[in-house]
């Protein structure tokens, strides 16, 4: 049985494979390369927004609707790792209780493990494995994100930015960052006071950003702003239609290739940084590193200089061998 078929048929094999991807990626590098091509039919939906904006509840409501359409859905939910202990509490399943008992849904929680972009190192790989395992929609929920955690746009075909009323004035809406990441803006908790104002502030912000949209700007996507209440299940249908429309937009304008290229560039750079760093660290012992820090502290060497000297010596060292 091919790896892909195994992952389709055996949920435990899938789950254990995901752990290996997360923990010992090198040991499954060949398998990931094999799965890379099989993953291409799935649509990856990113969901980001501040903590408490209702991302998990919205993901649950959206998943229920996608299941009515008979699409298999995988959810990857990322929560933050404590920078102090390295531990994490992954609590997104609490809101996803209603999805239990459905074989067409697979939920995996991930800790961010020190990554700052709102995802974990391996989220891209994990999403790809789930896509290859036959999930037609893969929903990736980021950690509660503020203004700069926008890695999700490089991963997802369609990125939803979820906002809830009651957080900040409308200048927040024109600050740089997370709102620019949105293909679709969702005002969640639409039943709470302030939802109307937030809705109009976001619409105004978008119109300011796209003042000159004309008929020939067909390829320009104007993010819709959707009022929803995950709790009361309103606006979810409209949200699903907006996601469909965005995916069709990508397809009909050949933007999927652009998206693919951007995604590949981002992933390439991220993996390059990781690999280079790891090779440097792996070829240096803890004692050597401690020695460098010790010298830099005693001689009051400016940190950038310390790094440059270290890298220089590393270059020479490598050439000699």
């Amino acid at each position: 049985m091919s790896l892909r078929n195994t992952l389709h048929a055996d949920r435990r094999a899938l789950s254990r494979f995901l752990s290996r991807v997360e923990n010992q990626r090198d040991s499954v590098a060949a398998q990931l390369a094999e799965l890379y091509h099989a993953a291409s039919d799935s649509i990856v939906i990113g969901v980001t927004g501040p903590p408490g904006s209702g991302k998990s509840a919205l993901v649950t409501a959206l998943t229920k609707l996608l299941r009515e359409r008979d699409l298999k859905v995988a959810i990857v939910a990322v929560d933050p790792t404590s920078p102090f202990s390295g531990g994490a509490i992954l609590g997104d399943r609490i809101r996803m209780r209603e999805l239990a008992g459905d074989d067409g849904v697979f939920i995996r929680s991930m800790a961010s493990r020190g990554q700052l972009g709102g995802l974990a190192w391996r989220t891209q790989d994990i999403a790809r494995v789930l896509a290859a395992a036959g999930f037609e929609r893969v929903i990736v929920e980021t950690v509660g994100a503020g203004q700069s955690e926008v890695d999700i746009v490089n991963l997802a075909h369609t990125t939803l930015v979820v906002q809830a009323p009651g957080a900040g004035d409308d200048v927040q809406a024109i600050k740089a960052g997370i709102l620019e990441a949105a293909d679709i803006l969702v005002v969640n908790k639409g039943d709470l006071p302030g939802a109307e104002r937030l809705l109009s502030a976001l619409k105004t912000m978008l119109e300011m950003g796209h003042p000159t949209k004309t008929a020939d700007d067909e390829a320009l996507w104007m993010p819709p702003v959707i009022a929803a209440s995950a709790l009361k299940s309103t606006g979810i249908e409209e949200l699903a239609r907006a996601i469909d429309a965005h995916v069709r937009h990508l397809q009909s304008h050949g933007l999927q290739n652009v998206h693919q290229r951007n995604q590949l560039r981002a992933e390439f750079m991220a993996k390059l940084r990781e690999s280079v760093l790891r090779r440097v660290i792996d070829s240096t012992t803890d004692d050597e590193l401690a020695g460098i820090i010790e010298r830099a502290t005693k001689q009051r060497i400016e940190p950038q200089q310390a790094v440059d000297r270290f890298l220089d010596s590393f270059e020479i060292h490598r050439k000699r061998h």
């Binding site: 949920r11 435990r12 094999a13 789950s15 254990r16 494979f17 995901l18 752990s19 290996r20 997360e22 923990n23 790792t81 404590s82 102090f84 202990s85 390295g86 531990g87 994490a88 509490i89 992954l90 609590g91 399943r93 609490i94 209780r97 239990a100 008992g101 697979f106 939920i107 995996r108 929680s109 800790a111 493990r113």
Partner: protein
């Protein structure tokens, strides 16, 4: 490279809504460097087993304060076994009389922690129960 964090599922089966204990434990395990998946209240044994499978955890911890541990703990064990999770240990926290403890320890659970158990004790026990054995990796 440092070793990977231990992944644990903490679940509350049954109908009791007293989740303070479960949250204190989850937080304590987080502070001990573990990744704790917390499922929330009122989980059925089948839901807990399925979560354990999807999350590929090294251990499942139940918090039961309703007195129904003699029904719920074996039911969770059975649901996990049905999914082929015999290798994942189950531990129990709550108020469990000695006689019940002995019976549970002989059949369905690997450890029972009462109200007097310290976090250190629990962390040490979990580390022991989840120490990796080479043949378990696929």
């Amino acid at each position: 490279m440092s070793s990977q964090p231990i992944r644990i599922l903490i679940a509350k089966p049954g109908l009791d809504g007293h989740d303070r204990g479960a949250k204190v434990i989850a937080r304590g395990l987080r502070d001990a460097g573990m990744e704790v998946i917390y499922t929330g209240l009122r989980q059925t044994p089948a839901m807990i087993a399925e979560s354990a499978l999807q999350e590929d955890v090294a251990l499942v911890g139940l918090s039961i304060l309703s007195g129904s541990h003699m029904t719920l703990a074996p039911a969770v064990r059975e649901a996990m076994d049905q999914l082929g999770l015999q290798d994942i240990p189950l531990v129990l926290g709550g108020i469990v009389p000695d006689g019940d403890q002995r019976q549970l320890l002989s059949a369905s659970v690997a450890a029972v922690f009462g109200p007097g158990a310290s976090l250190d004790e629990i962390v040490t026990a979990i580390r022991g129960l989840t120490a990796p054995s080479e043949d378990e990796r696929p």
